[in-house]
């Protein structure tokens, strides 16, 4: 039992369940053979030597909040860009702004960049991991301050949702 728990901690079990679900979804059918082959594949890819390092924790509530905010952004800014496309006068005034993120957001750069880029109207052009500064292209320069604040809020939420051990403990 202890051996089982050592090799299959709860984090790995959740990962395996998710992978098997994705496997069955791809095969389009829930059958014994699919579940068995999916389990085999999931156990192999989640092995310690190839799987994710498994550092840091997951907090569901901030993660959900992050998802909701990104979803809202997605809908709102689609309307925004659609409006710019439909109306004859072009009100866009582009700008590339640098936003400083908290230094503990370094490990979450990927998540933050995807969350920012997935919403139309803002896109990540470059990321400087040394200074944790992120460069965004925005369609409305007058909303630069509001956008910067919004991105910082997203970064803070990402840090709370997926807390990481302090920098010195993270193997680089």
């Amino acid at each position: 039992m202890r051996l089982l728990r050592r090799h299959f901690p709860i984090r790995r079990v959740i990962l395996i369940v998710g992978l098997v679900a994705a496997w069955c979804a791809l095969w389009n059918r829930l059958s014994v053979a699919n579940v068995a082959s999916g389990l085999l594949a999931a156990v192999v890819v989640s092995h310690r030597s190839i799987g994710p390092p498994g550092i840091g924790g997951i907090r569901l509530r901030p993660l959900l909040k992050l998802g909701v905010i990104v979803g809202q952004d997605l809908v709102m800014s689609t309307f925004n860009v659609a409006y710019e496309v439909i109306t004859p006068t072009d009100y866009t005034e582009e700008a590339i702004i640098g936003v400083d993120l908290p230094s503990n957001a370094r490990a979450h750069m990927m998540l933050i960049a995807v969350a920012v880029t997935v919403t139309p109207g803002t896109a990540v052009i470059d990321v400087d991991p040394d200074t944790s500064r992120i460069y965004l292209h925005i369609l409305h320069a007058e909303r630069a301050e509001a956008t910067a604040e919004h991105v910082q809020e997203l970064a803070e939420l990402a840090c709370r949702a997926l807390p990481m051990p302090t920098d010195s403990e993270v193997p680089s």
Partner: protein
């Protein structure tokens, strides 16, 4: 096809159409990428929602996997396009913090 599913599919196609018009209308490459790369996941999500109302659970599961793959990978592709343009032929725009910080002159 139920009216709700049809409405979703139509709305998705409409967003797709708008993004196509946006590609033609916006002036700079950056703005065009916004129209082309960003609207397409939303268009796909809308069409997928509409279609998954019609298909069974197996089809829905497949849509979830495809949608997740698209939403997670497309931003990376769009980001690379933006960066490639900025690094090779930067277009002068009103305010450019990146050019200012890295010392590239977009003119």
């Amino acid at each position: 096809m139920s009216p709700v599913a049809a409405a979703f599919v139509l709305l998705g196609s409409f967003v797709s159409l708008l993004s196509g018009i946006g590609v033609l209308r916006f002036r700079t490459p950056y703005a065009r990428f916004h129209a082309a790369g960003k609207a397409s996941p939303i268009a796909f999500l809308l069409v997928a929602i509409g279609a998954s109302l019609e298909t069974g659970w197996a089809g829905r599961a497949e849509f979830v996997v495809v949608a997740a793959a698209l939403v997670l990978t497309l931003p990376v592709a769009v980001h690379l396009l933006f960066r490639a343009v900025h690094r090779t032929e930067p277009v002068p725009i009103g305010r450019d913090d990146l050019a200012a910080d890295t010392g590239i002159d977009p003119d």
